[in-house]
Amino acid sequence: MVKANRHPQVLFVLLLLLPAAVALSLAVGRVALPFSVLIDGLAEPKPNLAWLILSELRVPRTVLALVVGATLGLGGAALQGLLRNPLAEPGLLGVSGGAALGAVIAIYFGLAAAFVLAIPLLGIAGALAAGALTFLFGRSGTLTLILAGAAVSGLAGAGLALALNFAPNPYAAYEITTWLLGSVAERDWAQIALCMPFILLGWFCLAFTPRGLDLLTLGEAQAESLGVNLGLLRAQVLAGVALSVGAATAMAGAIGFVGLVAPHLVRPFVGHQPSRILLPSALFGALLLLVTDIAIRVLPTSNELKLGVLTSLIGTPFFFWLVLHLRRLSP
């Protein structure tokens, strides 16, 4: 008979851990509020301090960490499935770079001062533009796609360097660099509400890809012979990743490695079939980013550690391990 499916147990465990992490995230913050005070705050007449801190600061932060983490995990899993490359992740297609450039342009030209929601909008625009450019130049196959993505990433990086070079004052340069390090703190509900439709739209695009990604396990020729429209599949993955990761980056800055790490850590439990790792990667990415964000708040550093810094510190050794691991496997 068919080998027992370990899938449901892993999802079950993840679904247990997530609420626990959420509770912890709501309880932990720079202002130490005992749990009882927080609970009382819900009942007492509003506004009171506990309610304000919870509803305006900690809940948005938690929600954002979950959404951004899920987006990165899902995007990484989808890209790894499409490119059949275990080193693929959203930054690879230049999407994160484009989003960052868009947001920085909003800051640099003062649009953000005039119109608070300029950063998310321009970030999404940048991500879509970068994604479209990659897609345009990378049509002829997987390798060209990866190369086009690297070129577009380089272009975005050059733009960012230019903006930093011409920063009108040292504060601007500092703020740009700090923003690029990534953070989910102190974002308001209006920004989140603006970006959520794009993220959901991106997830929606990606929801149609599992079948095609599974069939790509056999290679492009066989997948096509089994009825997959390769061009459409690439467009779906690219659009989904550009929309969701673009909006997420516009809100939270450049956060890397979650898209790389999450799929790898769920594969030992759910197997390698691309369709089976999509949802677990999203859940695990959400959990990973939330736990990292909690760690930031708990670690006793004088300046608050930035989210992107911690993910890089954890992710880079993992990346090295991954490269070594893959070298040992391949001939």
Binding site: V31, L52, I107, G110, A113, V116, Y171, E175, E186, N303
Partner: protein, 304 residues
């Protein structure tokens, strides 16, 4: 035959290289005085070609000496001058703090800050200038010290004393008229740190009669601060540095967080950054202006 020509080319390249490197530069630099003992300050009279390499010194210089005696001030000064003393820098040349500027402008006195001092000292001998390192100011005592130091260096001690006297008058008046009720404020511009005890901003706030919440934070001069702390601390007013005239930066957008707008509407006070980071006699004016604004704040306390 070919080898000889190659050697000749190599020798030529080497000679060019040597003349262009710093080593070569010291061998025969055009138009610069040879090394010698440090020339004394202008023996008869005051320095007439004063160069300032730091923003705060630029402003002090403009207040102490007429433009004809200034060799140059930094390019950053203009925006600050427009905000504090409009028109004062008309006709004054501008430098970018580079070694070429120092060598070309041949100053006889260089006012440097802590970061520009090492370079200034290195070049001073060759430029024939005297270097005065002006330290940063974190209190009104520091301001008095620095203004006297610069006044002495440029040969205008009386003007320096006059500026300080004016400042002291304003400070005395502030101390005499106690504020109606001590307000609790914090200078938070949306970033992650606020100026606490031991910063000039704290001194100005204290002198204006308010209480700086950040002075109680355990960290050293700049304390860690975020929206959660803001909500918990419930200051009566928030001071935000106006960086508009130095160009846009993310702070401007972050300070527009809806919470600030909702609970501190009419209680957000903008202040020109230069007056709070550079120790100048104008810092007393800043405190006076602050007290005036405090008087105009609405009386009701925040909603929780």
């Amino acid at each position: 035959m070919r080898l000889a020509r190659f050697r000749a080319c190599l020798a030529l390249a080497g000679a060019l290289f040597l003349t262009l490197t710093p080593v070569g530069g010291t061998l025969s630099p055009p138009g610069v005085q040879p090394d010698g003992p440090e020339p004394p300050a202008a023996a008869h009279g005051k320095p007439t070609r004063i160069m300032s390499l730091m923003l705060c010194n630029d402003l002090l210089l403009l207040m102490l000496v007429p433009p004809e005696r200034i060799a140059s001030i930094t390019y950053l000064a203009h925006d600050a001058v427009e905000a504090l003393m409009p028109g004062a820098d008309r006709g004054v040349p501008v430098n970018y703090g580079t070694a070429e500027d120092v060598l070309l402008q041949r100053p006889d006195l260089i006012l440097a800050g802590t970061y520009s001092a090492p370079m200034a000292r290195r070049l001073a001998r060759r430029a024939g200038a005297r270097v005065v390192e002006v330290p940063a100011t974190n209190s009104f005592e520091d301001i008095r010290r620095v203004v006297r130091q610069v006044g002495a260096a440029v040969g205008e001690p009386e003007r320096a004393e006059a500026l300080l006297a004016g400042m002291d008058v304003k400070l005395a008046r502030l101390a005499a008229e106690r504020a109606a009720r001590p307000l609790r404020v914090v200078a938070w511009s949306g970033g992650n740190s606020v100026p606490g005890k031991g910063t000039l901003t704290d001194a100005i706030i204290t002198v204006s009669g308010a209480e700086n919440i950040a002075a109680k934070l355990p960290d050293t001069r700049y304390g860690s601060f975020g929206l959660e702390e803001l909500l918990a601390a419930r200051p009566d007013a928030i001071l935000q540095g106006e960086t508009r005239w130095t160009g846009p930066s993310l702070r401007d957008s972050q300070t527009a967080h809806p919470l600030i707008d909702r609970y501190w509407r009419g209680r957000v006070i903008g202040y020109p950054d230069a007056a709070y980071t550079c120790g100048l006699p104008q810092s007393a004016d800043a405190a006076v202006a602050l007290r005036a604004v405090f008087r105009g704040l609405p009386a009701e306390s925040p909603a929780w």
